[in-house]
Assembly symmetry: C2
Homo-oligomer: 209 residues x 2
DNA sequence: CTGCAAACTTGCAGTGACTGCAAAAACCTC
DNA sequence: GAGGTTTTTGCAGTCACTGCAAGTTTGCAG
C-alpha cells in the first residue's frame, strides 16, 4: 500500500466520480436536465456509459451526487454530541455542519444545481428517494439519543423534517440570491423545533427589525 | 349532455382509471413492483399500453393513484375553515379529512399498497415528487391564511411537514397492524405542531390508554 | 522486472419505461 | 345517422439501466 493511504487506484476513482458528477451538473444546467443523455455525460467525462452506471445508480443520483459517506458521518456527529444536547439539537447541528462543509467544498456545483432545480424541483424530491439507508442510520442515532424504541415515530419524523427543511430551503434559495442556504436550512429547522403552530413574524425587506 | 351530469364517456374513463390503478396495485403486491411490466398491467385492465400512459404519467403514479382532485379539495378546505382556526390547524384538519375519506373509499387498495411499500419504501417518496403543483396550491392556501407572502418559508414548510408526516406514518403503519393510519398521521402532525424539541413520552404497549 | 490476482473498465445484447404521431374506434349532438 | 370531438390504439423510436463476459489497469510478491 501507499504511505499516503490513498492508492493510485483510489485517486483515479475519486477523480472519475467527480468528473461524472461535474459533467452531469454542468450539462444539465447548460441545456436542461432531460436534454442531456447519459451517453453525452460519459463522453464528457471520458469514460464509457457502462462506467457511468458503475459509479451512479441513476442519472438523478449523479446530478445530486450524494456523498455516500455523508450518512455515516452525520450519524457519528449525532451520537458523539455532548451529553446535555437534546436529540433534535444534535441532529440540527449535524445537518448544518454537513451543509456548511458541502458548500465550502463545492459551492460552484451547487450554484449550477440551483439552475437545474429551479426548472425541475421534482428532481430534488427524487434525490431523497435514494437515501433511505442514510435516513435509517440517522433515525437510529436520533432514537438512541432520545431513548426511544426503534419503532417509534419520533426519530423518523426528525429525520424526515430535516429532508423537508433542506428541500424547502433549496427551493426558497433558488428564488433569491441574497440568502445563504445554510441560514435558510437553519431557519427551517428552527421552525420545526419550536412547532408549526406558531406562525413566524413577517420580516419586511426595508424594515429595521 | 346526460341529466346525471356524468356521461357514458366519463363513467368509462373513471372505470378505466380505477381498473388500471387496481391492476397495478394488485399485481405489484402479488409478485413485487418491478416484476410487473406496464404491458401486464394494461393487459389485466384490458387496455393497450399506450392507454395506460394516457391515464398515468408513470408506473409509479399508477401505484399510488394520487387523485388529481385531492389538491384542490384540500386547498378549498383550508381556505374555507372557520375564522379562528390557525393555519396549521386548518391544514392538519384538511389532511386528516382527506385521509379518512380515502381510507373509507379504498381501504382494500391501501392494504395492498402497504405490502408493496414495505418492500420498496422509496416508492412512497417518489410518489410525492409528482405532486409539486398540489403542494404549491396548498402552500398558497396556508400562506394566505397566515398572512405571509408567497416567498416565505413557512407555508412551504407546513405542507412539506404534511408529506413527511404521511410518509413516516405509512412506514410505521406498515410495521404493525394494530394502529389506524389516520391516528398515526395525526400523531405525527401533532409532533410537528408542538415542536420537535420536545421529545415525546414513550407509550408502553400494555397501557390501558 | 515478472507474473499473478484483484479491481476496474468496456462493449454488447437485451429489457422495459415512456413519447409523438397518425389512423381507427367510440361517443356525443343534432 | 351525419358530422364533430374524444379516446384508444399501434407503431416506431429514444433512452435509462442491467447482466455478462471479455479486456485493461493496478497492486503486490517473489
Amino acid at each position: 500500500m501507499n504511505q499516503s493511504g490513498e492508492s493510485l487506484r483510489d485517486r483515479k476513482k475519486r477523480r472519475t466520480r467527480a468528473a461524472l458528477e461535474r459533467a452531469t451538473v454542468r450539462l444539465a444546467a447548460e441545456r436542461g436536465y432531460d436534454h442531456v443523455t447519459v451517453e453525452e455525460i460519459a463522453a464528457e467525462a471520458d469514460v464509457s456509459v457502462r462506467t457511468f452506471f458503475n459509479y451512479f445508480a441513476s442519472k438523478d443520483e449523479a446530478l445530486i451526487g450524494a456523498d455516500p459517506e455523508a450518512g455515516p458521518r452525520m450519524a457519528e456527529r449525532i451520537t458523539s454530541a455532548a451529553d446535555g444536547v437534546s436529540p433534535f439539537e444534535a441532529y440540527r447541528q449535524s445537518v448544518l455542519a454537513e451543509i456548511t462543509d458541502e458548500l465550502n467544498n463545492a459551492r460552484d456545483l451547487w450554484l449550477l444545481r440551483k439552475e437545474v432545480l429551479m426548472q425541475r424541483p421534482d428532481l430534488l424530491v427524487r434525490a431523497f428517494a435514494n437515501s433511505a439507508e442514510s435516513e435509517q442510520l440517522l433515525a437510529a442515532a436520533v432514537g438512541e439519543r432520545a431513548g426511544l424504541p426503534e419503532s417509534h415515530l419520533y426519530p423518523r419524523l426528525v429525520v424526515a423534517a430535516g429532508s423537508a427543511a433542506f428541500r424547502c430551503a433549496v427551493t426558497r434559495w433558488a428564488l433569491d440570491d441574497n440568502v445563504a442556504l445554510g441560514d435558510l436550512v437553519g431557519e427551517a429547522l428552527d421552525l420545526f423545533g419550536t412547532g408549526l403552530v406558531h406562525v413566524p413574524p413577517h420580516h419586511h425587506e426595508g424594515g429595521t427589525s
